[in-house]
Amino acid sequence: MSNKKYRILGLFSDFEEAFLAINDIKLNRVPGVSVDDVRLMSPIEHPEIEEILGERPAHVPKFTLAGACFGITFGFLFLASAQANFLVQPQGGKPVVPLPSNIVLTYEMLILFGVIFTVVSFLFLSGLIGGKKERLYSEKVGVDQIGVILELDDHTYEPTKALFKQHKVLEIREEVIK
């Protein structure tokens, strides 16, 4: 038997069908296919998706925290050092490094960098930038269908397709990887 690898995308009419199929994979109905390999495509995010796919990491908040911390430190130090190097202009009887105005500006910097770090980390972590896109994609995922993607080999290829069909898959797209 040749040692081919396949990628298949099964399109289901709704979350329930797709989830039942994944549940079967979870219950090891197809030996050799793990639920951790399952990738889901959907028009919206199902609120209880973790129940079926298990907890998968989303590290965005860590970057947010880092961005906020950076914003505070950098913001304040930037302002204070700019002021401390601009000694020629004391004004209105105010100190050279006036805390009340620096608090306001540092606050804005916190939010600005928090937002920037969040967004940039989102773009990378979600794979929108630099990540590999799914080669198999159906426009119907943008409308109302749910896609389940799996990478399979010769042993698991046929049983998985059978499983999908059992759960009333609407369409199966596949490609041979090698």
Partner: protein
């Protein structure tokens, strides 16, 4: 580098005016205006126009209050012991506000034509007499009873105009002056809005284009710039003269002597109502007058031993800490 700078100098950088501020003053130029001596001749104002290249804006722009008189004589009609001027029923009535501090003494009232107080409150209304003095009518000036208030930049030490400038175009010099850097100004005009004395003037137009038709441009003072549109300006205490005096003193290796020079207005005043000098020099005329009248800098309320003394600073209750002391006008009752 910067970080080190901040850490080592932190406590110095955190000093406000109350604790002496960040830098040492070399001078504190100040002035005394004796309202008893002011006769409202406007010579100071004219001198200022000549000295500081102030454009004459013409009637139309003057009427729009777009003029540039750094030194202006405000006129008030407020003789308290005179019979209130009979206001005709159709007249527009001016309104006074109590300015600090001729406390309990007089109420000031503007008389400038076009003053907005027109129609503010109807005369004869309830409580009108108490709150709003009825003194005269528009268009008909009284023959007598005017008070004059020469107003130039008060060179406040806690100037409200300074911290609001977005580009730091106005700042406090080691001479104790409130300086305006024309080149840095972007014309946000916040400083003028935040000046309680309204002593900052803005170049709404390129005034120079028609203010000095040839050969009048020959009269321009070469010691300072002619300002173009879009920058704020104000009385500088004739900073160009201060510069010259300081340079000469430095060359002769001495301190600037009191009375060695004066600003244009002081120099011109025919009655000697204005006195200019260094408040840091305890021997200067200005310092002596301040001391005599028991007016001190850095206070929002003067603690005078002798209540009869006439010295006061305008709106000092706002904690602007002005460098100009006014001497109240005394009248016979």
């Amino acid at each position: 580098m910067s970080l080190n700078n901040i850490l080592t100098n932190w406590s110095r950088y955190r000093k406000g005016a109350e604790e002496g501020g960040f830098h040492e003053y070399e001078h504190q130029w100040g002035m005394v205006v004796d309202l008893n001596k002011c006769i409202g001749c406007n010579a100071c104002s004219v001198a200022c126009y000549a000295e500081n290249n102030l454009p004459v804006v013409g009637e139309a722009r003057y009427a729009k209050s777009q003029f540039m008189s750094w030194m202006r004589i405000e006129r008030y009609w407020d003789e308290p012991d005179l019979e209130p001027y009979q206001a005709s029923p159709t007249a527009n009535v001016d309104v006074w506000i109590e300015t600090n501090p001729p406390a309990g003494k007089t109420a000031l009232k503007p008389s400038m034509p076009g003053s907005y107080a027109e129609g503010l409150l109807e005369p004869g209304g309830q409580g009108f007499e108490e709150r709003v003095g009825v003194f005269g009518t528009k268009g008909e000036m009284q023959d007598f009873g005017a008070s004059f208030l020469p107003m130039m930049c008060q060179q406040c030490h806690a100037a409200t105009c300074e911290p609001v400038c977005p580009v730091a175009a106005t700042y406090h010099t080691p001479d104790g002056l409130n300086a305006q850097v024309y080149n840095r100004c972007i014309g946000s005009r916040y400083c003028s809005n935040n000046c309680p004395y309204r002593l900052r003037y803005f170049n709404f137009w390129s005034y120079y284009e028609d203010a000095w038709p040839e050969p009048l441009h020959m009269q321009l003072n070469p010691d300072l710039a002619v300002r173009d549109k879009g920058v704020m300006e104000k009385c500088t205490f004739c900073v160009q003269r201060i510069r010259v005096a300081k340079d000469e003193a430095k060359m002769e290796n001495r301190k600037v002597r009191d009375g060695e020079f004066a600003t244009a207005c002081v120099q011109t005043c025919p009655t000697g109502a204005l006195v200019f000098g260094d408040l840091q020099d305890p021997e200067s005329r200005v310092s002596k007058l301040w001391r005599f009248h028991q007016v001190e800098q850095g206070k929002t309320k003067q603690n005078k031993q002798n209540k009869e003394l006439r010295g006061y600073r305008i709106l000092e209750g706002l904690n602007t800490d002005p460098s100009v002391m006014y001497l109240e006008r005394v009248r016979e009752v």
